[in-house]
Symmetry: C7
Subunit: 104 residues, 7 copies
């Protein structure tokens, strides 16, 4: 699945070491166009990074930028994050260190 940057009416700038993530929705149709019943849809812990904060501010005031950048495909933890709604689309804000892995 390719990255589709959501076209939002406003730009969201995560604070500090937060990243804005959009969870990939499970496939709702098969390749041949048949609808998959909701129960059979596989829940995915994958998402795309939509925006990245400037980085973690250490106790000495130094900024540590994230390893992540816009468009990165990531593995998300099963719990955590703060759900937010922008332009009626759902996003999650995670601390950079909560993201499990990048997928390439």
């Amino acid at each position: 699945m390719a990255f589709r940057m959501p076209q939002l009416s406003k730009s969201v700038i995560p604070m500090m070491d937060r990243v804005l993530v959009q969870r990939i929705k499970p496939m709702q149709k098969t390749a041949s166009g048949l609808y998959i019943p909701e129960k059979a849809q596989e829940s995915l812990n994958e998402g795309f990074v939509i925006a990245v904060g400037k980085g973690l501010v250490t106790s000495e005031g130094k900024v540590i930028p994230s390893e992540l950048k816009q468009g990165d495909k990531v593995l998300l933890p099963a719990y955590g994050g703060s759900a937010v709604k922008v332009d009626n689309e759902e996003f999650i804000l995670f601390r950079d260190s909560e993201i499990l892995a990048k997928i390439e």
Copy 2:
């Protein structure tokens, strides 16, 4: 929605890394002027920054100023913050690091 700086009879100076935020109230009328029943009003996790403290004081006594400034529109966490009342208007004081994101 544009930022309207509340005209308070006194100025509130948040301590340290705190920011004073006013939550944006959900729309109570439609564009055509009809009243929206309270249940149908969408709860918003957005607010405006009204005042910003001088910054986080590190364990070495260094001050780290906030990324935020007066008038910034922000995404607020679902929980946390200290509710206060000034001139009968409601505000919330958050630690700078609790604010999820800036919206532009």
Copy 3:
């Protein structure tokens, strides 16, 4: 409401980063002199700083003085602090960092 320094028979010197605060009592009479029933009295989270400790001692032994000084009007958190009684007047001792904001 103007600051009235309580005339105590002894001086109280808060330890470290503590501040001694006297909560502002809700008005008990109207401007015209009528008594307000206790239930109708508005609870206030405001107080005056009566005394300030020498400051936070960092893990390196450095002292970080408080932003607050005697006579400052402050916004108090809904919880926390240690209630003490001096000369039968009630006070609260807060850590400096627990005070939400200064009001001017």
Copy 4:
């Protein structure tokens, strides 16, 4: 009430940043010599410092001496501390930072 140094058969040297405190007992007689019933005796959160440890040892091995010294009258927290008995007299050991304030 003046400070009366208890005459102990042995000297107690608090470890690190601990202070040995003797709580001031509520008055049991009126000035004119009448006994005050126990219920009417006012509970006091005041005490005298009997002995002071050498100070807090920081994570770098530096010693930060206490602000307190033998004979200081102090305001005690409602909870905390370790009760000990020496020569059948009761004392409390507090961490230096638990003491609320000095009274002069």
Copy 5:
């Protein structure tokens, strides 16, 4: 049991000090080819390291690489880690410091 690198359609890059581990499945057949009933299969707390993050980022922004590398056989803790599924194979992401030991 020799290390078999799973052939995944995408590469998973653990974030920070995380390591991607594949748990060794208990033997299902005896050496002579008989099936072992599921209850008699021994549960193993061993796994192979599939991928290693760039390392722990200290509070000063320094990166501390892991002691582990791809192909290492490791002892896993009984609890913890985040289960993920890639190409329908099951993996676990651990913080580097959660891994108990290397086996050689």
Copy 6:
């Protein structure tokens, strides 16, 4: 009560900032030799230091030796410590910082 160094068949070397303590047993006879019933025996929070570890290892690898030494009489906290048995005698291992005070 004078310090009696227990004659153990092996030497116990506490790890890091631990100290090995032997609790002083309450007197079981009066001075004139009468047995005191167990209920009337006073529980003592006093003990003797039998052995001292090399000291606290700071997060920078520096060793901070204990204030205590073999033979010191100490005030013990009511809770905490790890009970151990050596040569059928009971001892307690405390972190150095848990010991309340030295008695001289």
Copy 7:
């Protein structure tokens, strides 16, 4: 009881500041060869160090080697540690700082 190094088919290298310990089993026979019933066997909190990790990695990336080495006889805490099985023998992995004391 002398140290008997277990002959394992593989070598176990504890991660970081972990140590691999084998608990000493309580005596099952008397000196004269009589079996001791299981209830009468004394539970021992003693063990031998089988392997030691390279040491604690500080927040600055410095390695602090353990005070312990292979063959050391140690006092173990009543709780904690991670039980593992290697070649059907039982071992426990402790953080270096959990070990109570060395016995010589």
